[in-house]
Amino acid sequence: MELEQENITQNLDEGQEPVPIGSLRPQPEEKEKVQKVDIDIKKKQTDNTATLNIKKPGFIKDFVDEPTRNSEDYGRQTGSSSSSSSSDSSSTQSVEEIRARLEEEEKEEVSKLSVEDFEDMADFIIDLVDMGLLFGIRWYSQDISDAEYKVPEEKLKKLKKHLSRLLMRVGKKFPMGMLLILGIIAAYATPMRKAHEHRKKVISEKTRKKLKVVSSKSKDDSQDDSEDDDGPAYIPLKKRKRGGQPK
């Protein structure tokens, strides 16, 4: 057989006619070259290598307390790697079971939060509150100028510190709904801030244009009395009709 295989490889190397794959199949004689092994299924312990292992008193209790695979889950894959298995098990679980599982997961999730997480959360919340309140104050004041409405940085820092401590204290009792809301806020914080900046720019541009128009109009009014204007009369953008210049 080895000789045959050598010939085959030689043939392949020389670039001659390809060999049918069937010829590479092991011969039936080789199949029979299986060693017979006697296995004694009643074989018992032969070497005495027992060692002492002294455990704490709670060892048996811990052993008994270890979870076993539920009868309903028999044959299913374990772990979060298989999403199909988790969806299968969730379909057979009752609402109460799912609720209990979610409660446990929530507790785990909150307990996993670090100090940095709470500080980040406080940063986001204070930034958002700051932005919202300043926006409200500006709207209330009817101020369309570029004047800065700002809370001193130090005060903001203090507020963030207080809030992060407060969040840490209530962390374990933090409801999942609140976490979700905070998550949404945190996710949208950056685009909202950008939108606010853009809005500010647009408003200031509009104001600038308006002021320009008003000043030119007042100029025109004063000029009308003294000399005739050859150019078309100014019509505000909003009032201008479609179809170009009036006849």
Binding site: K44, Q45, T46, D47, N48, T49, A50, T51, L52, N53, I54, K55, P57, F59, I60, K61, F63, V64, D65, E66, P67, T68, R69, N70, S71, E72, Y74, T78, G79, A100
Partner: protein, 214 residues
């Protein structure tokens, strides 16, 4: 999540060695952790020792007890899955030296049905050969059995022999009253069928070391 395999746990020891007391504690712990899963405790309990702990009592006349536990309901579910079965002095439950077919079915289905099993015997000679192959754990209490009794019955017989020698040597200096005063923490050696380790329970380490020295 890591799961432990379902146990078939043999408690071997002479009468009054503390098998039932220890098994009761195990049953209590088992029940506490599985309260929410609705698992039941079935007990063949001629001495009524598991009164208040067991949910279902098996009588010696209930020959089809194993069939009842593994039966399916109308929806095709196993209503008694996720349970613990305690067979105190189990040989009195069996009419002959042969394993009943439904008991073998129960053993075969124990993982499918998430069944934990504890059985108690006075002597390793009383363990039926087929049951010994299914046994995953042994708690060896003081016995009056001969070392060869283990050899005939248990695959890990050398480990169990050593366990028996250790616990017997440990309690030998004790008088009956002194031994009884250990209640409910009776000394025994825990052995796993897949390990060569002896786990002495309720035994003082210093005394064990002294025993090994002598």
């Amino acid at each position: 999540m890591a799961f432990r395999n379902n146990f078939v746990w043999a408690f071997i020891g002479k009468s009054g060695a503390g098998k039932t007391v220890t098994a009761k504690q195990v049953a209590k712990d088992w029940k506490r952790t599985r309260k929410r899963k609705g698992g039941k405790i079935f007990a063949f309990d001629p001495h009524d020792a598991f009164y208040g702990i067991a949910d279902v009592k098996i009588d010696a006349k209930d020959e089809d007890w194993a069939s009842i536990i593994i039966q399916k309901d109308k929806r095709g579910h196993y209503p008694f899955a996720n349970s613990l079965i305690i067979l105190d002095d189990y040989r009195t439950l069996l009419k002959s030296d042969k394993m009943p077919p439904d008991f073998l079915d129960l053993l075969a289905l124990r993982r499918r049905l998430n069944l934990d099993i504890i059985y108690m015997v006075h002597n390793p000679k009383l363990i039926l050969e087929r049951l010994s192959y299914f046994s995953t754990h042994f708690s060896v209490f003081r016995t009056e059995s001969h070392a060869n009794d283990f050899a005939d019955k248990i695959q890990k017989f050398l480990t169990c022999q050593q366990a028996s020698s250790l616990v017997n040597a440990y309690v030998r200096p004790m008088e009956e009253k002194e031994y009884n005063s250990l209640y409910p923490n009776f000394p025994y050696v825990f052995v796993k069928s897949d390990s060569d380790q002896l786990f002495p329970m309720n035994m003082e380490e210093e005394q064990i070391n002294q025993l090994q020295l002598t």
